[in-house]
């Protein structure tokens, strides 16, 4: 049984860099491949609706008539990337969390 088992670590910590960051001013960059936010490049989209069908949380709505549209409810998205894998035209991608949505400030 030891009484001051933690003592060494306490002394070490006095001279170490903090483990935390000055968030929100300093953000950790995402790793390559992190699933952050779903982005679409609509130029190639053929509005086939496969992404909407595969999505486990019904976050995507695709319509063809009367207008072609691709809508995405970002609050429903669970960031699973199932749609990205399913898209035949590869127009969906997972962007890092720091990237802004088109309609964001």
């Amino acid at each position: 049984m030891k009484l001051f088992a933690m003592f060494n670590d306490i002394v070490r910590n006095l001279f170490r860099k903090p483990a935390t960051r000055n968030y929100p001013y300093e953000k950790r960059p995402d790793f390559p491949g992190t699933r952050g936010r779903l982005m679409i490049d609509p130029t190639n989209c053929i509005y086939c609706g496969i992404c909407a069908k595969k999505c486990p949380s019904n976050a995507i709505t695709v319509t063809r008539k009367p207008d072609q549209s691709w809508q995405f409810d970002r609050f429903r998205c669970i960031v699973c990337a199932a749609c990205v894998e399913a898209c035949p035209k590869k127009c969906l991608r997972m962007a890092p969390r720091t990237e802004k949505y088109p309609d964001e400030e």
Binding site: G33, P56, I78
Partner: protein, 357 residues
């Protein structure tokens, strides 16, 4: 005439809501009534409404700590039903992620325990180390908590050499840090005062209550489902960790030693990984019934799946390890002191959201 004291659903030591109605005789507990249902989300019902591929994302949300193992168990069940043979590399990758999950889950549990007995410093340090494991998971799969790396027929992502080096490096650093921190958990005077001899669950009682995981292993049962050799465990070298003192301290020791064991298993798996495909294509729909078991950080999980040849499953039933440990917890609590309840509850590492699904 006994007094009823409600412990929870909101209590500083509980990370999740569960209520224990404790009947007290003075300070001694004479009976316990657990009340669950605060975080029920109806995931089993939802699984019947989504198709079976979407369910593999859904079951990950059963638990926020052992998420990968839930999707792994589910995928193993569907694969057994549809007779899909998973490529060897995928099996090893599954071991890597499952063991990374075990490390981070155990560090979380040890940290929460340290927090509960007032050792804030140890709690912060353990979680700092845990962050390394989270980074390793994020780099290899793209998610810190919800890996979404498992799919029916294999895994969705591969680990390349750069990622492998990163994981090994994080494990090396984490191991060095743990070599300093774990002795504090196991040797410190005040920690031992709080844990040794508290929450006794003897070997026969553990068996009778159907305890699983570290709770059973802390009571001297060498019960570890990994020894049956599912996925790639049959090719890896490990022994179940067993402690025999049957108290909260034994359960904590089991977790401490399992962290090292898991670090070793990740290294073995990364080392022995063969170069094959990571995923196979499959055709058809699941049909039939299957029950599958896996060893999670908290013990053995049971998945029962029933398919009817359509996209939707007839039934999915999950029995999580904490659910199996609640009777054991009640046995431990009976006869103990009110001041020890927090320690005893955390020593079984309860995951209430799992339990209620």
């Amino acid at each position: 005439m006994s007094t009823i004291v409600p412990f929870g659903p909101q209590h500083p030591v509980l990370p999740e809501p569960i209520q224990l109605r404790l009947a007290l005789d003075d300070e001694r507990i004479v009976s316990v009534l657990p009340v669950v249902g605060y975080v029920h989300r109806g995931l089993e019902k939802l699984a019947e409404q989504k198709d079976f591929v979407q369910d593999s994302y859904l079951v990950e949300r059963v638990c926020g700590i052992c998420s990968f193992m839930h999707s792994m168990s589910y995928c193993m069940g569907i694969e057994e039903m549809m007779e899909i043979t998973v490529p060897e590399r995928a099996n090893y990758l599954r071991v890597v992620w499952a063991e990374l999950h075990r490390i981070h889950s155990h560090l979380l549990a040890l940290g929460l325990l340290a927090d509960a007995f007032g050792f804030e410093n140890l709690f912060m340090q353990l979680w700092r180390t845990r962050e390394r494991i989270m980074d390793a998971m994020e780099y290899t799969t793209g998610g810190r908590v919800m890996l979404n790396a498992c799919c029916i027929g294999g895994v969705r992502r591969d680990i390349n050499d750069e990622q492998k080096a990163f994981v090994l490096n994080q494990l090396k650093e984490a191991e060095a840090e743990l070599k300093r921190l774990i002795p504090v958990m196991t040797d410190d005077y005040s920690v031992k005062k709080r844990l040794v001899g508290i929450g006794i669950l003897d070997k026969a009682a553990a068996y009778a209550a159907g305890a699983v995981g570290p709770t059973a292993r802390g009571s001297g049962h060498a019960m570890d489902h990994r020894t049956t050799g599912y996925i790639a465990y049959k090719n890896l070298d490990f022994e179940p960790v067993v402690e025999t003192s049957c108290d909260s301290y034994a359960r904590t020791l089991v977790r401490c030693r399992e962290v090292y064991q898991s670090i070793d298993l990740v290294r073995q798996a990364l080392d022995k990984m063969p170069d094959t495909e990571i995923k196979v294509a499959y055709k058809g729909k699941p049909c039939g019934e299957v029950a599958i078991r896996c060893e999670q950080p908290r013990g053995e999980v049971l998945y029962y799946l029933k398919g009817n040849g359509t996209d939707h499953l007839d039934r999915m039933r999950v029995r999580t390890p904490t659910f199996a440990n609640i009777p054991a917890l009640m046995t431990m609590l009976n006869g103990s002191q009110l001041a020890d309840v927090g320690m005893i509850v955390l020593s079984v590492d309860p995951c209430i959201s799992c339990t209620e699904r």
